[in-house]
Amino acid sequence: MTAVELGQPSFGGGLDLVPTTDEPQKAKDYTSDQEVRWCPGCGDYAVLASVRSFLPELGLKRENIVFVSGIGCSSRFPYYLDTYGMHSIHGRAPTIATGLAVTRPDLSVWVVTGDGDALSIGGNHLIHALRRNMNITILLFNNRIYGLTKGQYSPTSETGKVTKSTPMGSIDAPFNPVSLALGAEATFVGRALDSDRKGLTEVLRQAAAHRGASLVEIFQDCPIFNDGSFDVLRKGDDVAERLIKLVDGEPITFGNDNEYGVVRSASGGLEVAEVADVGQDAVVVHRAGEEDPTQSFALSRLSDQDLTHTVTGIFRKVDRPTYDDGARAQVTAATEQAQQRGDDLQALLSGKDTWAVLPEPENEQ
């Protein structure tokens, strides 16, 4: 059998079919009446504040925005936003978002998840949502620990990490969420730090505008069970030497005076060098829109869990048909054909092969 051709796919923006409003909106409009119950100092507060102040910028009708979450500390997020929301079950938020995105193109659908929710119990759903390129935006809060269950190691915890469930140190190898997403054929992958409101907002802005699945990894601090896990990226003298902020179309340099650059390594990947040693021309230029994900993948591998060189910004942003647009196009095409043929429910039920049973003759003894 051959597929039914439905014409060239058109790549629009992620929110093209979502109704907008001219009414000015403020962060307060997106604040629900629920008291926020995260621990004091939790990185989730910063992300919530960024999202609340970013959403008005989209100018969407508030009732057309839906946040779906799984289980975990971050998954309480929808309760604190005055949009439609669902706090679902562990790991399954992408599945619920999938049904919603396919049936309701007029909605802006967001998934809020954590490292345990998305990468452990929900790993299967995450990779398939990315592969299908569902038109949803996934915010993956990565604090490298299980918070809500009180401090067990997570699938992003460092090997050797001592936690309540690993008193002799974790022997698990961690996932690199950006590498995983790229391997799962994600069309948009970004990363930001919870405390970097400007950087986070920029990634959110582009993620929302992307038609297709957007994965945004947000490094986020759990002050109770994994305090200070990302501090090396926030304070100290060498922050500039650790943090690499991607700018599309620009050479990838960093350091207080951009003295470091990312260059090709002998093994075929990428590595860090001093620009003075290798020359400006050797520094690779970031291209988020490159079809081939090789360079983006190499960027995600620049640093181990020790955060020596941590890349933030948008790793990849390419156009590919979305599952939900395709599903709707098939329904539309089939509906038009059915109308042209005059198909209806009665015709369907009757089918082709029927026989009639006539009334029995009366008074026949």
Partner: protein, 628 residues
């Protein structure tokens, strides 16, 4: 076969008979399902009442000629309304030694046996442990045996096509069909037309199959070995237009119709699983009727997407079998907490675990009833026959939409793949299933807020407020919610109230009273079943009554909630028998709920009950001898 004899024009005897059971049995690769299906279509087109029982292994192609590879198709057709595919065949067609060995014990002495002799080689006989060739020893003496070299004859008929011997032999199932079609006075045009359409892109193959089919027909007509042919007159069913339908097809049509009648898009989120996959296959053809199908990465994603679609205002549906239900359980619990409509189609199969994927069982009742954490009541509906799956689907959707709840529909392998005539409904007579979405704030305090868990006084259903509705923005989830307002609540009294409210909502669902069939009105024994056992139980009751005894029959379509009068019905009989294809799940519920001494009769053999065995159980019960 009850028969009236006459002499036909060719001098050959034509017997009028009221009912016949034919079983085609062969290797998985022999095309027995197609052969049976085709004969069924001819019987349907002729106007017989019919019921079928396909029986095939889970392996797609087990090693050829072995017992695990045997596939069979049993067809019962009659000139009156019948209830089952028949206990035992009157005619057994055995295409190889394995098929003979696996099926012969079901053939009553005196039955007709048609054997394809070409496969009875030393090697094939050894494969299935025949020490001597049954065609040559006296083991087939009790039967009216016809030895036909079907492969050789087919090969001969196809010689002019120039086809290879091996390819030609593959059409031997059509030879068998031709022979049986001749024996039972069936037309040839329908099958020939069917073959032309089926192989439209390979006209050579169509012609080859037609040649084989005709060769089988002519073989009956010209050889002397078949002295008798049989006629089964059309059945006098209720007036109307009929078609043949399987349970899975009726289920799919029911879902399409429910979407239309509810004026909602249908979203099926599912994962392939035997024996439910045909529901997905069928629904995926009806995108033009507003149906979206989503083949998810797993069972959990299937139901998750369906629930997401329901949240967005579509009719969310998921289809599966027992192992899939186990995986979906947590999401069903979420749907109970969210109080959103959701249809769960469970086509039951033999369990536990992978169990018997292609065989039937009704052992998921307690799983559907209780298989979730916490108090999570879900309505359960069970169709009683293939055609009944259509009405059951509409009924299930009515409940899901009206009461905003997940609903279980428990079909099973026997009715999913079995077929019968279906009186095609006039869509004008189908019920309107539409329900309104919430559009306005509803807070009783006049605050202008929207309370997502403020219930309808009659149904106890909460409002269905879908995203995109201004002013009704709200958050729902699996955490316990405050009664009315719907915000998270850990209040002990509130939780107690919400648990009871959710239960009361399901308990209060309107279902029709249970009706009892007790023609003489003096029965002391009541037999009560549920789901696909309706046919065998009904046929057993007929036999018992025909023998002059009284027995009352009741059949439960609604397992949760049970009809209001079930307790009264049970208590008005001295003895209650509950036959089930499990170890007594309904009996346990009835005993627990009504404190009646209901007696289980159970069998879990992967096949439907036989009318004969149930008639024996009921006869014993009438005489006061209850099943242990």
């Amino acid at each position: 076969m009850s028969t009236d004899a006459a002499v036909g024009p060719a001098g050959r005897e034509v017997r009028q008979t009221h009912r016949v059971v034919i079983r085609f049995a062969g290797d998985s690769g022999d095309g027995m399902q197609l052969t049976g299906d085709r004969f069924t279509s001819e019987a349907a087109a002729f106007g017989n009442d019919l019921a079928t029982l396909p029986n095939f292994p889970a392996e797609i192609r087990a090693p050829a000629g072995t017992l695990p590879g045997v596939s069979s198709f049993q067809l019962h057709f009659a000139d009156y309304d019948i209830l089952t595919p028949g206990d035992r065949p009157d005619v057994l067609v055995a295409m190889n030694p394995a098929a003979l060995k696996a099926n012969l014990e079901d053939l009553p002495h005196g039955g007709i046996l048609i054997v394809n002799t070409d496969e009875f080689t030393k090697r094939n006989l050894a494969k299935v442990g025949y020490e001597s060739n049954p065609l040559e020893d006296d083991s087939l003496e009790p039967y009216t045996t016809h030895q036909v070299a079907m492969a050789t004859l087919t090969r001969g008929a196809l010689e002019p096509t120039g086809m290879s011997k091996k390819d030609a032999e593959r059409a031997k199932n059509m030879f068998a069909l031709g022979l049986l079609s001749w024996m039972y006075h069936r037309g040839t045009e329908g099958t020939e037309q069917f073959l032309r359409e089926k192989f439209a892109k390979k006209p050579d193959l169509a012609e080859a199959n037609i040649l084989a089919f005709r060769a089988g027909w002519n073989y009956g007509e010209t050889t002397e070995s078949f002295a008798v042919t049989y006629e089964v007159a059309p059945a006098r069913l209720a007036e109307g237009t009929y078609r043949q339908i399987t349970g899975n097809l009726a289920l799919a049509y029911g879902v399409v119709a429910a979407g239309q009648q509810a004026k909602l898009p249908v979203f099926l989120g599912t994962y392939p699983i035997t024996p439910a996959s045909d529901v997905l296959h069928e629904l995926s053809k009806h995108k033009g009727m507003g149906v979206t199908t989503f083949q998810a990465e797993d069972e959990i994603a299937g139901i998750g997407a369906a629930l997401g679609a329901s949240f967005g205002g579509a009719l969310g549906v998921t289809s599966t079998s027992g192992p899939g239900v186990a995986l979906k359980s947590e999401t069903i619990g979420l749907a109970v907490a969210l109080e959103l409509p959701l249809l769960i189609l469970d086509v039951q199969r033999g369990g536990p675990s992978t169990g018997l994927p292609t065989k039937t069982e009704q052992a998921d009742l307690l799983q559907a009833m209780y298989g979730r954490n916490g108090e999570a009541p879900v309505p359960i509906i069970a169709p009683q026959s293939p055609a009944d799956c259509f009405d059951a689907a509409l009924d299930a959707v009515r409940m899901a939409l009206t009461y905003r709840t997940p609903v279980f529909l428990l079909s099973d392998g026997a009715i999913a793949n079995g077929s019968e005539p279906w009186r095609i409904p006039d869509v004008e007579t189908l019920p309107d299933l539409s329900v309104p979405f919430a559009t306005e704030a509803n807070a009783p305090d006049g605050s202008g807020e929207f309370w997502p868990y403020l219930r309808d006084a009659d149904t106890l259903a909460r409002p269905w407020a879908i995203p995109g509705t201004a002013g009704l923005e709200h958050r729902i989830g699996g955490l316990e919610k405050a009664d009315g307002r719907g915000t998270i609540s850990y209040d002990p009294d509130n939780h107690d109230r919400m648990v009871r409210l959710r239960q009361a909502k399901i308990d209060g669902i309107e279902v029709p009273d249970l009706t009892v069939d007790d023609p003489t009105g003096d029965a002391e024994v009541l037999v009560i079943g549920w789901g696909s056992s309706f046919g065998p139980i009904g046929a057993a009751c007929r036999r018992v009554r025909a023998a002059g005894m009284s027995v009352a029959q009741a059949h439960l379509r609604h397992l949760n909630p049970l009809p209001r009068n079930v307790g009264d019905v049970l208590r008005s009989y001295r003895r209650v028998i509950v036959p089930e294809m499990n170890l007594g799940q309904l009996a346990m519920l009835l005993r627990a709920k009504f404190l009646v001494d209901a007696h289980s009769y159970t069998k879990v053999a992967g096949l439907p009950f036989q009318a004969e065995e149930l008639a024996g159980v009921l006869t014993d019960a009438v005489k006061g001898d209850l099943p242990a």
